[in-house]
């Protein structure tokens, strides 16, 4: 007599295969080329003193997130943003001593 095929076992094997597939793609995803590229970028940034990633070029404050430009609205601190689509991704930081200083500088001037 043929042994009964258990659907539960088939399902558990399929689930295990999916878990193994996900684990293998995450473990093999880190490539040597990727690491070398990041290392190369790190050297370029340090050599040419590039303070920001080129994520977006639509406005000054999203091109250079860490270099606030006081002329633009709300640009008091790194990470402050204006009304551009890419701005929606950026959470402004809390005001700290630099921000306080920047405001005082403005008042003095």
């Amino acid at each position: 007599m043929m042994p009964r095929i258990r659907v539960s076992l088939i399902y558990l094997y399929v689930l295990l295969a999916l878990v193994l597939l996900f684990t293998s793609i995450t473990l093999t995803g880190h490539t040597v080329q990727g690491r070398q590229r990041m290392e190369g970028e790190r050297r370029i940034a340090a050599r040419f003193l590039l303070s920001d990633l080129c994520l977006s070029t639509e406005s000054r404050h999203t091109r250079h997130l860490s270099q606030p430009e006081l002329l633009a609205a709300f640009q008091d601190l790194p990470g402050f943003h204006d009304h551009f689509p890419s701005s929606s991704f950026i959470r402004p930081q809390k005001l700290n001593w630099q921000g306080v200083v920047a405001q005082e500088t403005l008042r003095r001037e």
């Binding site: 996900f22 990633l53 639509e58 250079h64 990470g79 001593w97």
Partner: protein
């Protein structure tokens, strides 16, 4: 063990009886999880990239303000800052923006006179410093102007005069995330194009001997020169760490809302057992199933659907972000940019992120299936079979 497998067998067969509905549910569930997981993977990889690439920068950035605007900083400030105790080196920067009317793109111009040796991401025709008529550029300018190494690049200075430069180096498109819009000129040429006078610089990068003292040195500079603003590298890093963080970012909100709205729908659907399902529970109890067996059966039904969808969603999200380069997410970030980088992200795998996705996707769904089943299971089987 056999008992569990029997209950799981029954749960799967029960799901297969309503296969069309269940397949539709698994497909939608998978897509929702895939979107949410894509956002988590994409933002995690970008954060990893920023933190690593920007890890070797000087600790302080000093900028001069006048009338609320950034203005060039004089050479004399460099000399004054260099003698502050704790300061190792002051590195002046010459940089600014250049609007290129033929392409409509905005480029970043940087002044630098020499090349780092052995840079794999730069294809350079020269080995030493840049002459005043030579230029290195990212992949943006050659692509928008259909030029390449050895060809000419024209830039108009702030007085309106056209200057021609020979492209002697081009950054590989692999470094687009950093250099896409970059144009590197010799310091004298950069001054000419940006309109910065001799002995003036855009801003200063300050290296300190002890990074732990960076904030103290920063305060000192700030007190000594009332018109300057000091940005610390900690602030710079936290800007990128905050970028796309779980609390910030429309993507995260959008993805969470879609996940929760799906779960609410699933809850709504599952919370009212259909007449057929109630009768099934009644029959099962009538033939001797215990309440705990019925609950386990419902638990496995929910687990089969949610685990299958979540794992399929995770695989889809990973392929979407790291193999297909996130075609559904990147356009949001590009916004109105004319020039945008074609980057391939290095996967950043964090177990906590996967755990978060699994917890958010699996637990509420299983809860949504078990609670109504419990209500159905505790009612009298005879009553359920008679009344439905």
């Amino acid at each position: 063990m056999n008992r569990w497998l029997n209950i799981l067998d029954y749960a799967i067969i029960s799901l297969l009886r309503r296969r069309r509905k269940q397949i539709a549910l698994v497909v939608i569930y998978t897509l929702v999880v895939a979107f949410f997981a894509s956002v988590i993977f994409f933002t995690g990889a970008l954060r990893q990239e920023a933190v690593y690439v920007l890890s070797d920068l000087p600790e302080l950035w000093v900028q001069r303000l006048a009338g609320g605007r950034l203005v060039p900083i004089a050479q004399s400030k460099i000399d004054s800052i260099a003698v502050i105790r704790g300061v190792k080196r002051v590195l002046p920067r010459l940089w600014g923006y250049y609007y290129d009317s033929p392409s409509g793109a905005v480029f970043t111009i940087t002044g630098s006179d020499s090349l780092p040796k052995g840079l794999k991401l730069l294809d350079a025709a020269i080995g030493g410093g840049l002459d005043s008529n030579q230029v290195f550029c990212g992949s943006g300018f050659p692509e928008t102007h259909f030029t390449g190494l050895g060809q000419q690049l024209g830039l108009i200075d702030y007085k309106g005069c056209l200057h021609s430069f020979e492209i002697v180096g081009r950054f590989s498109s692999q470094s687009d995330l950093l250099t896409r819009d970059l144009i590197i000129l010799s310091p004298s040429a950069a001054r000419k194009i940006l309109g910065i006078a001799k002995n003036n610089y855009t801003d200063l990068a300050v290296e300190v001997w002890n990074p732990d003292e960076a904030e103290t040195v920063g305060r000192k500079i700030d007190r000594l020169f009332p018109s300057v603003r000091v940005v610390t590298s900690a602030q710079l890093r936290s800007t990128y760490e905050a970028l796309f963080s779980h609390r910030g970012g429309i993507f995260i909100y959008g993805a969470l809302i879609s996940l929760f709205s799906f779960l609410i729908l699933a809850w709504d659907r599952a919370s009212g057992l259909s007449r057929e399902e109630r009768q099934e529970l009644g029959i099962l109890k009538g033939i001797g199933w215990q309440i705990s067996d019925v609950l386990w059966m419902k638990f496995w039904e929910g687990a089969v659907i949610s685990l299958t969808s979540t794992i399929c969603g995770l695989v889809l999200a990973y392929l979407h972000v790291f193999y297909l380069n996130a075609p559904l997410l990147r356009p949001f970030l590009i916004g109105w940019s004319v020039l945008y980088p074609e980057y391939r992200l290095q996967p950043a795998f964090a177990f906590s992120e996967v755990l978060l996705i699994v917890m958010l996707a699996v637990v509420p769904f299983i809860a949504a299936t078990i609670i109504p089943a419990w209500r159905g299971a505790v009612t009298d089987p005879a009553e359920v079979m008679q009344n439905g």
